[in-house]
Symmetry: D2
Subunit: 357 residues, 4 copies
């Protein structure tokens, strides 16, 4: 009963097998190997973006922070949801890699920035003159931190606000596979066709050991030399792997034959099953719609103790300490449950059974 995080799961067998194959013989270092070329080719095909530049790194924080460093100047404002991962969970990595840009939190329900709130935040920043930070970039997350999805239209609406102020759009796709698997839209629809300039495409949470691709969809539009600038930023950030084949092998295997979407679909189905089961339990409510592989249930206080004693692993997720909690008083408590590609039906059943007791 492991629902603490999708990063607690291992790698898919296909990925491990590819890693073993990649280990044979010598390979040129730093990305000049055939597997790196293959992973680039796959991304271009899957995203219908033959000009896209693709660079691999090993962590989602690196992917996001390097991408933002490419897009926003040190005196820039980066607009993101007020609970975005880049705002709350990366220990200031975006500030570090941008050399001090300011993240501007934009509110919105269920993990999505409200377009109107984004527009107002952009207007305020644009009006600041030399005394304020300048509008720099917009960063959207899909799957959101609330476990919800953005439709292509929702991304396009946010991107339109960004465009109106001349800003580039970044998409944090740490769980992009779950977003594609969870909706009816293609990878292209959910990215460049909706106005995304740079995507962090995450493999780690979905069956890899540790690999993310930063995809620059239109290097020409991004500006001359932007792809090379990314490479310099990556090296300077310590994120260029010498034995690069081991990053590339993961990414290529993960993308081949739709494995990435199969793994994500398994993960989403597990979440749906869990949500369905929880919905049948009297005292359980869900804080956000379950659209991918993350659930935020709340239940009567005291269950944490029981569930954990029985071996369930997950994080409590009450509102931050000290904030008012109008929706659940002393008698309620919340959790964050995350499923993964290897969550089993047995785990779900066992977990749900604990609520019957």
């Amino acid at each position: 009963m492991f629902f603490a995080s999708d990063t607690g799961s291992g790698a898919a067998p296909e990925v491990m097998a590819a890693l073993l194959r990649a280990n044979e013989g010598y390979a040129r270092s730093y990305g000049a190997d055939p597997l790196t070329a293959r992973s680039r080719e796959l991304i271009r095909e899957i995203f219908e973006a033959p000009e896209a530049e693709v660079h691999l790194v090993a962590t989602g924080t690196a992917a996001n922070a390097l991408a933002l460093g490419l897009l926003a100047p040190p005196w820039g404002a980066i607009f993101c949801h007020d609970h975005a991962h880049i705002q709350e969970d990366e220990c200031g990595a975006p500030e570090f890699f941008t050399h001090g840009a300011k993240l501007v939190p934009v509110p919105g329900p269920h993990g999505r920035m409200a377009p109107g709130a984004l527009r107002r935040a952009l207007e305020i920043a644009a009006a600041g003159g030399v005394h304020g930070v300048q509008p720099g970039a917009v960063s959207i997350t899909n799957v959101t931190e609330a476990g919800t999805l953005h439709s292509p239209a929702q991304i396009a609406a946010l991107a339109a606000e960004a465009r109106a102020f001349g800003l580039p759009v970044h998409l944090d796709g740490a769980r992009f596979a779950n977003a594609v698997a969870g909706g009816n839209a293609s990878p292209a629809d959910l990215s460049w066709r909706a106005g995304v300039d740079v995507l962090s495409l995450g493999g780690t949470k979905n069956g890899c050991l540790g690999v993310e691709a930063v995809v620059i969809f239109d290097p020409a539009e991004a500006g001359p030399g932007k792809s090379w600038e990314f490479e310099l930023r990556r090296k300077r950030g310590g994120h260029l792997f010498s034995k690069h084949r081991f990053l590339a092998a993961q990414m290529a295997a993960w993308l081949e034959d739709g494995l990435w979407l199969r793994l994500a679909a398994q993960s989403n189905r597990a979440a749906a099953a869990l949500a369905g089961g929880l919905a049948r339990i009297d005292d359980v409510t869900l804080r956000h719609p379950v659209e991918a592989n993350i659930l935020f249930p709340e239940w009567r206080a005291g269950r944490h103790e029981t569930l954990r004693a029985a071996g369930a692993q997950y994080h409590a997720h009450d509102p931050a300490p000290g904030t008012p909690t109008p929706d659940h008083g002393a008698t309620r408590e919340g959790a964050r449950l995350v499923t993964s590609w290897c969550t089993s039906a047995e785990e779900i059943e066992a977990f749900l059974a604990l609520f019957a007791a």
Copy 2:
């Protein structure tokens, strides 16, 4: 009728005279001159802080940003009012000088952080573990950006929250002279006795050409080498003046014989007179109490045009573009009026007379 900013005024005659005197003969560079020593001595006396370290710079942004760089690490959170100058008006200077710290805006009425809101923000940051930025420093502003004052007790309440999390306290005193002149508390009461560790003491807005003192009240407590570290940061920031006597001459003349408080009191009296006059005009309301030298009046729409046509200089100050304005609809407009040491009774009368028309 100049109410655009207290930085639109010149320097007081006493300060200019001191500058002329300072210009005689040779002087050692970089602060090794007698005037620098004298300005340090004066600050120690006035603040009853014989151990305080004093460093001069030429701008308020430099004073604040260097002070914050000293107090907060790159991965730190700096807690300040959500309309603090460091948050809204310094183009990311605190982020630059701290190498990427994150400013956490804390709400509160009339320009003052609410202690409870500060505590909640601190609790959230402290709970973040390695994934979040760490509590770094608290920065208070007095006079606030809303033109209001903090009492010693109010500063102490905020400082107590900071102390509970082990954080140092910075005070942005760009208008500290107005704060002292406007209240019944001594410089010491409004700074170190209330828990302030480092003060930005502003001369520029109150009758100098351009000089601010950064006062480290207890270098021993601040940490070994912190004063020397400040000097290195100042040099590295390009803020160490070679002809340092010209900064020191201003600061010393401004502090001698209470000139700084006389100038600030003039400025505050002018604001009080302006506020008194505006209070007698039917359609005028004040957004914040007038406690120092800044006023935020609102009036029926259309007055801007009349006032400016008659030669009044000031900044409109409506809520930021796009934000909801429940308190004054299409028929209201707002302004920010700032008086200074050289605002004349004639200017005030002439301005008020425009409302009669």
Copy 3:
């Protein structure tokens, strides 16, 4: 015949096997897993340093730059050999992670700083006052970029210079395994006993996929909170792996039962065999003594073409373009050959045979 780099080799079978084992089941993220604990324990044992703090990252650049960020302030000077990897091959990563420290190149024969030259550089920096960068840290490399070793006494001599100026000592041990395997000194003798405070211990070049340990030998002496600070810097740099077990599995397997030293010894033996063979060829000279797994042969011009046509892979290594080349004129050319744990006797023989032709 692959001698381009030891990073062109794959991972040792034992390491791959450990990775497969590590993939079973769930594991807690971010280093809270048993393999991470095991790798820490192994390093403490092997280095006879029970108090040492150990943090894993995936690249050598990250290990070095994060370590230097911990040791030197932004206004610090970092003293290193003028051909050190941190000076020439990391695209400014040390400058990035230190927020702008200055690397001061120190000359010395065969890749080793001359202690006298280090002392002079330290004296100059220490004399600079507020106008110069301050002495910050000393960084030694072992195996050096010239393929030579430092003895414990040589490290101690450099560390003594550092100590005389109160500076901490970093050791770039990207090939530390080769250094231990190549000499008669223990890991402790080559690190903390000789005065090293922080070690970058490299697994990548010696049979891992991508893992390096940063070892803080005496966290108490390093300063309160330094190990925690490292964790924050690592996270902020995007170098904290969520699926941390995959870093730890490599490191633990590599260190278990002396595998790391066996692999390094194979690599060193291959280099010695290559050097021995080349020594018997008339026109070949070696620029540096061959003490580990890197060789810098020079030969009569024209050989590059023949060797490469026959399939030999290596980098030409003439002096930098434009520099005077008194030691080999138009008729000479140089190479850098690197062996690895998987260099075969057949490769060496085949390569040497090309010289006979």
Copy 4:
């Protein structure tokens, strides 16, 4: 007998008078005042550069570091003389404002980079690929730190090397007035006509209190938005003065009617007189030609004590501690003498008379 630095002198009477005049009445803040416009106009006229953008700051370090931040990326190499002020005397300000660029020292006699040495350094950097810092900018100093001049042809030769690698050229003109006064070339000949893109034009050392102009000669070529970017960098660096008229008043008065060149000529003449007198003293030699207002005499050991006892103020200037001193052994000692616009004939005579004793 004050020869410690030209920053030990005060401001010229004309500059102080202008400051007094500038103090009358209100003025718009942050550079929107007529004196700022006037100083811009004067620089455009004097440099025959009607399109030039001009921004004022208060210190030479700020001017240089902000200019370099504009020209070189964080992963850039900045090529300068190995004793350049930016390399030795600014406590890492260029590294701070560029976010970590690397200064590459280029040797050359008498404070001037040798063009061949610059070319070699550029070639090495350009050959580094993603692993090395990239060629970023070239920075020339005129007057040099050795007190010598560059001719237009010498500047053009260095700029040609920069151009060949696509690099912009910065000129540190802290003593540019002395350079113009000391040669036969116009301001334009010594700057943009010789290939300089951005000039730091120093007023502080030549009769101002503290003001420097950063001149971007061709904003169109510098890149779209570069002038605005400079303004953002200046604000963010804390270098935008609110009471900007006091910077502008100095600069305008200094440039009006050739005052700047008269002051510099006085300073240069004083140096020539001093050099002439020293040349007649048996044991005195000069380390560099005296072409502006700085002298580096050497004399028999023991004179320091006598001269200082008699009241002479200057800095000893032996080679850095610890470096070998083949040219003057235990029996020689060196000094750095700097004259200024207010050095008097009496001071020079009195100083020279001390050698007779």
